[in-house]
Amino acid sequence: MGRYLIRRLNLFLATTLALFIILFVATRWFPADLSYALSGVALPTTQQQLQIEQDYALHSNVISQFLAYVTERLSGNFGISVTSRQSVLNELAGVLPPSFELAFVAGIIALLCGIPLGMLSALSRSKMVQKTIMAATLTGYSIPVFWLGLLLSLWFGIELGLLPISGQINLLYQIPKVTGFMLFDTLLYNGDYKWNAFADVLAHIILPACTLAVLPFTVVVRITRAAMLNVMNQTYIRAAEARGLPYHTIVLKHALPNALIPLLKHLGLMLGPFASYAIVVEVIFSWPGVGAWLVSGIYQRDYTVIQAGIFAVALVIIFFSILIEVLYTAANPMSRKEMYGTN
């Protein structure tokens, strides 16, 4: 197990390095002055210019430039944003938590609805139920997310007037940012309108989270179904039946854990598309997250923001996909089977 963890850590480091290389090369191709693209300082004073050239080793060869680039970025210097003149790192710290919050809620919705529905469609005897669920998931898989978001905000936000369609919280509530996660911040806040604010935050997150949940939800349903069908045909399920165990014990104790293992693996592969969708959803619902921040960065040709945003999101995805892989190995005694007897 220790060797395995070290191998995964190596993979993480190698992928991060590759990510740095990609960003470094892209930065040099940006249609702007290199020192501007690196630092975000539009009209540097002579002193600033010298400082930038020294920081990024602009006068030496490419290798030391790359090393300087990596050093700067790892020490937290992402330059300043062109538009807001703020440090990019601070802005990044402000926009990451709302994104995590949205993604987390959407993921929970997808898993909580998707797994039971997948099981239902796998275990249901009725062809009707199966076909309805499969048709619904295929449609959900094909819906363009931006269009779905627009339609939902039109129906629920404007025509029915039930839910707010933009932002994270009504601007009237002044909630001090402690964790950045609004759901926690409102709970931590001790004021007269604590619960109103919490309800408001909840109301704000429903539409974007549901929109974002559609894709993972459909994938979860389909994979749970496929895995469940596969597991229910195994000999050990029949053996469990022959032992006279009740049906729900067989499904919940023997079939479900085995079916969730492939689901875990697919969740890791789904992170990329999920992040893409999250960006679009954040733009539509004006969610103050990293996606909307990035897109506004590109509208304004804010190169430092683009680099930092891409770096942060890709790093998060790399981290989580490797984490899921490790969890998969840890949760799955079968993967120990492969190691069993090898060392």
């Binding site: 005897r125 195994q234 000999t235 050990y236 029949r238 053996a239 469990a240 039946e241 022959a242 032992r243 006279g244 165990l245 009740p246 049906y247 014990t249 023997h254 854990p257 085995n258 293992i261 799955n332 005694p333 079968m334 120990r336 089977k337 069993y340």
Partner: protein, 335 residues
């Protein structure tokens, strides 16, 4: 009263080519305390029959039977729940793929403990410990030397033979009256095979467990069973006490099976043909009408397009229009 009495069981399967009768009018009688062998080639519906007795069915099966009695109770009229409680409690089954019959994500112990009934319902704090002790006792009984270690290991860490022994222990934990062993020794070495069979034999004699032993090897069944039923392509060919069946088969198929057994005592002629039936087992889609052995049978005549009824002669049953008889029915002719 026989323990299990089945008359004219027919199972129809839904195949892409339409329904096919995988089992046709199968009758089987198992008396309490006997070791009953069920022999048939693969695809003859042995496992289907076993699963139908136990009551694990697929939705694509259509089961009809004139009679299916378990110890005087009608299995056909039972609800799913009653069948389920019968499984495990009174009828147990072990499968031909022992290591695949364990859930790979749980340890052996966890799965074995599931099968063990609690002795004292109210002393819940002692349940786990009691169950563990019982589990160890059973594992010891089936001949596992280090039960504690086996309880804590995952199924893939054990050999096939050990897995099968645990499987038997698990099947016995609820002390069933009938144990169905579906090819319990497939893919095992001869020494382990012998161990497993001896174990089943012991259980039969010491614990009074009735065993339905399913196999395709006539010689192993002949060694261990009191009675045998021969199945071919979903029809019962012949049934009777092993010794009589071996001494004088009534049915051409049984005779062919006996002839197939290599005889090491007599020197065979060089390049002599193996005595086998011509042709091959029909596929499920192209089953012949009437007696399914018909196209391959050396004795086949015109009547064979009608399925013969299971005739009864002394202790033996056979389904053939032209059986081989030892005793000439009319003794007067000899005189």
């Amino acid at each position: 009263m026989p323990l299990l009495d089945i008359r004219n069981l027919t199972i129809e399967l839904d195949t892409p080519q339409g329904p096919a009768k995988a089992l046709e009018k199968v009758s089987l009688t198992i008396n309490a305390g006997e070791m009953h062998g069920l022999i048939g080639e693969s695809g003859s519906g042995r496992s289907l029959l076993a699963r139908a007795i136990l009551g694990i069915q697929d939705p694509s099966w259509h089961i009809t039977a004139d009679r299916m009695m378990w110890d005087g109770k009608n299995l056909m009229e039972m609800t799913r729940l009653q069948r389920r409680s019968l499984m495990g409690d009174e009828i147990s089954m072990i499968f031909q793929d022992p290591s695949g019959s364990f859930n790979p994500t749980y340890t052996i112990g966890k799965q074995l403990l599931e099968a063990i009934p609690v002795a004292n319902k109210w002393a819940f704090w002692r349940h786990t410990r009691d169950k563990r002790l019982t589990a160890q006792k059973w594992l010891h009984k089936v001949g596992i030397k280090n039960p504690r270690k086996v309880l804590n290991s995952y199924p893939w860490e054990l050999s096939e033979g050990e897995c099968q022994k645990v499987m038997i222990a698990m099947a016995l934990a609820k002390q069933p009256r009938l144990l169905i062993a579906d090819e319990p020794t497939a893919s095992m070495e001869p020494a382990t095979q012998a161990q497993i069979y001896r174990l089943l034999m012991q259980l039969n004699q010491l614990q009074n467990v009735t065993v339905l032993l399913i196999s395709h090897e006539l010689d192993t069944l002949a060694n261990w069973c009191n009675r045998m039923t021969v199945l071919y392509s979903g029809q019962v060919m012949e049934s009777g006490p092993t010794s009589e069946l071996l001494a004088q088969p009534n049915h051409p198929y049984t005779k062919a099976l006996l002839d197939n057994m290599p005889d090491y005592d007599l020197a065979a002629l060089h390049k002599k043909l193996m005595p086998t039936l011509p042709g091959s087992v029909p596929a499920l889609r192209h089953l012949p009408i009437g007696c399914r052995l018909g196209p391959r049978c050396p004795e086949a005549r015109r009547q064979c397009v009608n399925q013969p009824v299971l005739s009864h002669y002394k202790d033996r049953y056979y389904a053939c229009h032209f059986p081989y008889h030892t005793e000439v029915p009319d003794d007067d002719l000899l005189a």
